[in-house]
Amino acid sequence: MSPAIPLLLALGLGLAGWLVARARAWTFKRAAPHGRLAALPKYHAWYAALWIAVPLLLFFLVWDYASGQLIMAHVLASPEAAALPKFGLRRATIINEAWGIANGTTARALNEESVALAEPFRQAISRYQLIGIGIGLLIAGAGAAWAFLRLKPDFAARTKVERLVLAALLIASLVAILTTLGIFVTLVFETFRFFGMISPIDFLFGTQWNPDPMGNPNNPDPSRYGAIPLFWGTIFIGAIIAMIVAIPLGMMSAIYLTQYAKPGLRKWVKPALEVLAGVPTVVYGYFAALTVAPFIRDIALALGASNPSSESALAAGLVMGVMIIPFVSSMADDSIAAVPQAMRDGSLAMGATANETIRRVLVPAALPGIVGGVMLAVSRAIGETMIVVMAASTAASLSANPLDSMTTVTVQIVALLTGEGSFDHPATLAAFALGFVLFLVTLALNFVALRVVKRFREAYE
């Protein structure tokens, strides 16, 4: 059923209920002794409209799923379905095609069987559509009856509407939480499937990463699933090289902006810096791959390195560091600005220079906030994918040479999930195990960082 039908139905019936309820409230109002009601007529109107539209929409959400099952059952019970192949891809293709023809999304059939099957689909769809609309109308009627029975001069429609709005807000906020929970459950589930095939010890402590998506899924070689090179690559690029770039530059720009920049300049530079955070990471990625990586290779050649890789951890790390600067600088900026002016005055009044004051009083006082910012930046950096995909290759290597090509956890997740392996192959499931580890690490980092920042805030309030 097209989504327009329930939406129009809900809108139309809701509007009707709204108008009728308001008219009714006005008659109450005229009859009331002082022309006053417990709530304005528009609240009566909204109360009725919501009681009509919301249950209707909820019903159609459920019905959309349920009717699909019912239609399928109906069609499979029809005589035409007997001619279908019993199992396999062809059966599924024919069924999908027939359904497409029946609801008009597929113009031309590739399989003749599907044309025959389209007719039962057509019947089933129209039948269940009618049933759905009928039940929907009943539910809307029930909602309307419920609402209109309660409309009285002293009915507190205002607080009732308030409560409905509250419920809507609560549901909206639950969506994000439930999604996170769902992601977590999926990850855990798939990770345990993976650990059923490869032991967690081999995975977490092995030093060879070379999954074979084409190998026998029932007898995988655990020695090919050692994730240490990936963890190392992630830490080396995201937490070492990127931070060597981002921490000093971010700190210095924060110090300049809070302590030295004139307000007029700060007004321009700070937003300009924050624009960096809004650049899509893909854009950074091709900057890293096309500009920075060849440049680094040329320098390595000039310095006498033999056959340097065109994809290097250094290129990815440098560009990632630049990307992270706004995270570090804006947290450092906030924390330094939050150190009371009295500290600064106290130090200056002792005869300290501005520089001494910053180094010995402001930065130490702001340190917890700065550390929190850096940790958030690290968790952002190790979760970053695009730059590394484009600039640091997909070959795992356990090396401390920044000019080597390296790979990270996120890059491998992409490689494994977009590879040709089937979804129950350990090489594909390994992606979930990697994602799970990454999820835990970034969660822990964020958690600790937020605690640190919070403690810091409390210290100065």
């Binding site: 130090s347 009044a349 002792m350 005869g351 300290a352 006082a365």
Partner: protein, 285 residues
């Protein structure tokens, strides 16, 4: 002696002060001109276009406590902060006139502000110890100015400063504790010790007791009295009683003008100006 903006430009002001001092029995020993530590002449201070201080002339004497009193917003703190150029941190602030420290113009272009502030220390209204240990709070100034060679000398400076601030006995066993963990009164004495540690010649105090309870206030006042023998002290205060208790000289500010300046006993018992009389008797302010 009447000290208003009309007579502020009078160069013989210092002599008048001495003469007056000599004629006032029961006051401190007579002050020689060489005992003038800081000399402000025709000082006007602007915040942008707003004039906060209008042609004020005041002398600060060695081994004296000079109190600045006056209602809120009269400019006394602004003037105090001009004495060690703390107003430099406010971009819109501008100072006219001359302020001399030992005859040297502190607003001259060659003046090293860092050195000036080492010689003219400051204690603020709200205690502002650094979020460091008690020891490090005191050691901060000597370290940045290189006053101590080696740990032993630094330890000695820390102990001496804490002793002078009357805090040593209370904190000697917990020098590594955070300075912010002390009580309000102790924090303020820590800040005074911190200012003393760089061995200044003048100590400016901006309402040092306004955030403290009466007992802590009494301790600070006692301390100010002890310190008077070594430093020239300038204190801004809202409390007339405090000015009367701790100071030898008092300057009464009103709306950016210096209304009256003279011996504290004269200001409080025998003011020349009606406005001073009204203020100290609580008619306004």
């Amino acid at each position: 002696m009447v000290m208003t903006e009309e007579t502020a430009a009078n160069p013989s002001f210092a002599e008048q002060a001495i003469e007056h001092n000599a004629n006032a029995p029961g006051l401190d020993e007579s002050v020689e001109p060489s005992d003038i530590k800081m000399r402000a002449r025709d000082v006007s201070i602007y915040y942008g276009a707003k004039k906060a201080i209008d042609e004020v002339s005041v002398d600060v004497f060695t081994e004296h406590v000079t109190a600045f009193i006056g209602p809120s917003g009269c400019g006394k703190s602004t003037f105090l902060r001009a004495l060690n150029r703390m107003n430099d941190t406010i971009p819109s602030a501008r100072v006219e006139g001359t302020i001399e420290l030992d005859g040297e113009d502190i607003y001259a272009s060659g003046m090293d502000v860092v050195q000036l502030r080492a010689r003219v220390g400051m204690v603020f209204q709200k205690p502002n110890p650094f979020p460091k240990s008690i020891y490090e709070n005191i050691a901060y100034g000597p370290r940045i100015h290189g006053l101590a060679e080696g740990k032993g000398e630094l330890d000695a400076i820390v102990e001496k400063s804490l002793r002078r601030a009357g805090l040593w006995d209370e904190v000697k066993d917990r020098l590594t504790d955070s300075g912010t963990a002390l009580s309000g009164g102790q924090q303020q004495r820590l800040c005074i010790a911190r200012a003393i540690a760089v061995d200044p010649e003048v100590i400016l105090m901006d309402e040092p007791c306004s955030a403290l309870d009466p007992i802590a206030t009494a301790k600070i006042e006692e301390l100010i009295d002890d310190l008077r023998g070594r430093y020239a002290i300038v204190i801004v205060t809202h409390s007339m009683q405090q000015a009367a208790r701790v100071s030898q000289r008092t300057a009464f500010f009103h709306l950016g003008h210096l209304v009256e300046y003279g011996h504290t006993s004269d200001i409080f018992t025998n003011p020349r100006e009606q406005r001073t009389q009204d203020y100290i008797t609580g008619r306004y302010g």
